[in-house]
Amino acid sequence: MVSKFWNAEIETMPRKKLEQLQIERLKKTVEIAMGSPFYAPKFKELSITPDSIKSIEDIRRFPFTTKNDLRSTYPFGIASISLDRVVRLHSSSGTTGNPTVILHTQRDLDEWADAMARSMYCIGLRNTDIIQNTSGYGMFTGGLGIQYAAERLGALTVPAGAGNSKRHVKFITDFGTTALHCIPSYANRLAAAFLEEGIDPRNTTVRTLIIGAEPHSEAQRKRIEELWGAKAYNNFGMSEMCGPGVAIECREQNGMHIWEDNYIVEILDPDTLQPVPEGEQGELVLTTLNREAMPLFRYRTRDLTSILPGDCPCGRTHKRLARFQGRSDDMMIVKGVNIYPIQIEKILMQFPQLASDYLITIETIDDNDEMTVEAELAQATDDYGLLRNLSKEITYRLKSEILITPIVKLVGKGVIPQSEGKAKRVNDLRKNF
């Protein structure tokens, strides 16, 4: 009989044994990270050595790592091993400062591909599948990360890349693609592209969608599944941990199993940084257990989630993360792009025609994220053309900064609601949660 597990031993490992494996791997990871100019002095100060680790609770002695740490040590300051063993780097866009760089050894890449292949197997994909990837190839991990994993699985893998819906439609039709990797909003857009060509997406060969990198609601998932007549599974990854392949829903579609042989999972109160009781919401904090080039300890993901209590009927023993409930910082994820309000502010402040108040509203329109930026005019004008050109120019400059096209609205004084103290800059009306 064909196994329902990619790696039955790991995936169904009894919790006690899994914890033991985590302790062993944490020790090993500490040993590696003693070569990191970033971690070595911290470990020394906190008396952290491989031998000092006795239980999984010891993770609480470790220092936290933040995105700022990655930026301030740009590009290679956290690396635990010498660059001659590093074979790849991935990087974030770095629009808010230095980009963040994540390094990989060949072993890191192999383990990453294996974890994502395990995730694909978990949702029922096999080597008989034809997997088409709509993520951009390059510095973004959703391209190569999915590619290598799907190849590891043994599936025919189509590296079609981002954009060009017509081409995706043609490839799916011609190649008989059975599975798609895409962000949820692109699943909608691609379905629309099929409908424009007079093809009902339900009549295509696509049976599975791997969706992620963008917060979405259960209702959105249902809608995508209805549009495509296919199953859509929520997939979680982040470049700091490797990329896609950190956690995925199983076929129960009730929470994402996070691969705990690779990560220690903590859910902490973002203010006190103390653990919250199981089942309660907090910030996801991750420690890598299976990486060499750049292990990260207690990395603050800023994603808010909770651990679903109880066992999963699928038989996997790895904990399940609830759908993400938002962020503990002000980062917004819109159309799969990470955006900070400060990026928008920076652009608006370059226009002398604008006053200082602005408001960013994000909402779901026809299942797509739409961002509206309301900017306060500094003075009146009798010229419609001037207003039109101004909003055009603001739209253009914002687009080059945040990579998506917002709707820009010019408003008069007092339209943007004033709040006591800290101004409210973002109004997220998406019904994701």
Partner: protein, 138 residues
């Protein structure tokens, strides 16, 4: 200059905005001779000729509206289409471009409020062709 003052108020599409402005003017007994607003999606510009432009402008600014005063031509003609057509013909034959115009009736006459792209030139053309430029009510 034989031009008159017009006030232009930035008007975002927000319920009650126009009422606020009109109520503020009414409370100060400022009369509106003419008003114009075009239909746009996100915002409009409300253009007004009132009995006291300076006061109206100060009042609305104090209430937080974005207001600007600019000069426009007010041409008084007989209240018929022939006179209207003649006035426009004079301006365009004289090489003037009209950005916008709106009209109102006053004591049996028709008043054309015109914003040309070149105000000085339009004023000269109008005067040299015998058009009657009026100076408003202030």
């Amino acid at each position: 200059m034989k031009t008159i003052k017009q006030i232009s108020i930035f008007l975002e599409n927000q319920r009650g905005k126009l009422s606020d402005i009109l109520t503020a003017l009414k409370d100060e007994n400022i009369e509106i001779q003419a008003a114009s607003v075009a239909d746009t999606i996100d915002y409009g510009i409300l253009r007004l000729i009132t009995s006291n432009q300076v006061k109206a402008s100060e009042l609305l600014s104090a209430k937080g509206h974005l207001v600007i005063i600019n000069e426009v031509l007010a041409i008084e003609v007989e209240s018929d289409t022939a006179a209207f057509a003649n006035a426009i013909d004079v301006l365009t034959s004289g090489g003037c471009t009209i950005n916008y115009l709106y009209t109102f009736h006053k004591a049996g006459k028709l008043v054309l409020i015109i914003r040309p792209s070149n105000l000085e030139k339009a004023e000269k053309v109008a005067l040299s062709n015998g058009l009657n430029l009026i100076r408003g009510w202030e």
